[in-house]
């Protein structure tokens, strides 16, 4: 079966031993590019970018806070899409991917809340406020915890993954609420600054925008690398009786299915 046709390639990729090998080959490259772009982004943000006219140097936490916030939303969307594929098409790999997204997403959400809190104390005079953006981001963290908790409460891992996928889909309604909270409500949190659809209209200085985008790239690549690694481990434990797992454990090269083209 020719793998040069995308649907065929994706079908090939859906088989656990094939995905295991593919992910293992891709992951080091993603980590390398993620580290390099993180270094470039942090250098651009912490050293090259000028101080803010209002906040001085304290604004530089933006280069951690905003990419983490973008990732917290992106990972939830990824989890929901993978969960939808798992529920509708019963793809085993999609179940593993969806469940392995959740801890990383929860971590990014936590980092967002903590860095935001550290930024808020000098800027707003308070560690926390119950405005729409912060409250909905906290609800997002609880949703992640709910997915993780529900998945781990089942003995049958596949059934737990399907139940947690449905929960993730139910919670997807929170994503537009988090994103549009600063437009729909009067919030203490800053309004929309970076406009993806029309970057020229963004109200942020270009010297601050490019390190921010590079850090966004770095966090995305880190997440993909982390997801590939976690999915490999998840597949090993899900398929632990199978032949290909035994071959991996014994150190033999994993047999892949389908004719390589």
């Amino acid at each position: 079966m020719s793998r040069s046709y995308l649907p065929h390639w994706m079908h090939w990729l859906g088989s656990p031993p094939n995905f295991y090998r593919f992910a293992g080959a891709l992951r080091p490259w993603l980590i390398a590019v993620a580290l390099v772009s993180a270094a470039v982004g942090l250098y651009g943000g912490l050293v090259l970018a000028p101080p803010d006219y209002q906040q001085g140097d304290a604004y530089r936490i933006i280069f951690i806070h905003v990419p983490s916030a973008w990732m917290s939303l992106f990972i939830y969307a990824t989890m929901a899409v993978a969960g939808l594929v798992a529920l509708v098409w019963r793809v085993k790999l999609a179940e593993v991917i969806a469940m392995e997204c959740a801890p990383t997403g929860a971590a990014f959400t936590f980092i967002t809340l903590v860095t935001g809190s550290l930024w808020g104390k000098p800027m707003w005079g308070t560690w926390w406020t119950w405005d729409a953006r912060l409250t909905s981001e906290l609800v997002l963290l609880f949703l992640y915890f709910g997915v993780i908790g529900l998945y781990n409460a089942f003995e049958d891992r596949r059934r737990g993954a399907r139940a947690a996928s449905l929960l993730a889909l139910v919670g997807i309604v929170n994503l537009p609420i988090v994103h549009y909270s600063v437009q729909w409500w009067n919030t203490l949190h800053q309004g929309t600054t970076v406009d993806f659809l029309d970057p020229a209209r963004s109200s942020i200085a270009p010297s601050m925008l490019w390190p921010l985008l590079v850090m966004a790239l770095a966090t995305h690549l880190y997440f993909f690398a982390s997801l590939l690694g976690r999915t490999r481990t998840g597949l090993l434990s899900l398929e632990s009786g199978k032949q290909w797992v035994r071959a991996v454990v014994d150190g033999q090269p994993a047999q892949t299915t389908g004719a390589p083209t």
């Binding site: 529920l87 409250t135 609800v139 609880f142 949703l143 915890f145 709910g146 908790g149 529900l150 409460a153 089942f154 003995e155 059934r159 737990g160 399907r162 139940a163 449905l166 929960l167 139910v170 919670g171 929170n174």
Partner: protein
């Protein structure tokens, strides 16, 4: 001149499927036809009421819990009547939400364990309809007593009398919404080996906007401002939930029952 409302009514009656009103044609239903959806729902309601009546002592436990927790607040904060009056509305809302949680957890567990849920899946009636019936029965037997007891709890916390009707209306809109959301989550968690606090962890994030709007209405009424807008938001969410939540609950039940 036929009024518009009557025309809508006629159109609605003409478009309802035959199975809902099988007696309309004046003939008895043929023996090999399955009972219509309405009859199935009525039977399910009857079963739930009989089962609830048999353990009617258990239904007092959430009430007792609510009363005791309400009494804890004056002990914790001091009996200053002005302070209690300020916090009464919000505190009573939270107490109702927390008192609903234990009963919500076991909405489907008993039926999952004795195989009734499998029969639901095999039934010719739509699973979403059966789930909605279970939600209605659960609200009537478990939550309505809590709302009936509200005047007593309000008196314990020195709730201003003019706020009480708004609080009751807010609860009448918010609690069915929470039971509908809870039915989806309870269906998901019914197959989990140890639920415990899991349902609370899943439900409370989704309950946050409901509590915000209900408390907003109560707070507005307490300060003499117009309170209809949050109640309208609650009503809109409730209508959406009545339509969509049973479908999600049916999907969740299918996930839970398949071994």
């Amino acid at each position: 001149m036929v009024s518009a409302g009557y025309r809508v009514f006629i159109l609605f009656m003409a478009s309802t499927p035959y199975s809902l009103f099988e007696q309309r044609a004046g003939q008895p239903a043929p023996a090999e036809h399955a009972p219509g959806a309405w009859r199935a729902c009525r039977a399910l309601l009857q079963r739930d009421f009989v089962l609830a009546w048999r353990r009617r002592g258990e239904l007092f436990l959430p009430l007792l819990y609510a009363v005791i927790v309400t009494a804890l607040f004056p002990f914790a904060l001091g009996p200053d009547p002005e302070l209690l009056a300020r916090i009464a509305g919000g505190v009573l809302l939270v107490i109702v939400v927390l008192a609903m949680l234990p009963a919500l957890e076991s909405m489907f567990r008993a039926d999952l364990e004795d195989g009734t849920l499998e029969q639901w899946l095999l039934a010719p009636q739509p699973l979403a309809l059966l789930a909605l019936t279970r939600v209605i029965a659960h609200w009537l037997t478990t939550v309505l007593p809590l709302i009936v007891v509200m005047p007593l709890l309000g008196a314990l916390l020195n709730l201003p009398v003019k706020v009480l009707p708004v609080l009751i209306v807010a609860l009448l809109l918010a609690t069915p919404l929470l039971v509908l959301l809870g039915s989806v989550l309870s269906a998901l968690a019914a197959g989990a080996r140890r639920s415990g606090i899991l349902l609370a962890l899943m439900l409370l994030p989704l309950a946050v906007p409901v509590v915000i709007f209900a408390a907003g209405a109560v707070a507005a009424a307490q300060s003499g401002m117009p309170f209809i807008a949050p109640l309208m938001w609650l009503a809109a969410a409730l209508i959406l939930a009545i339509v969509l939540a049973p479908l999600a609950c049916a999907a969740a039940l299918r996930i839970t029952v398949e071994a």
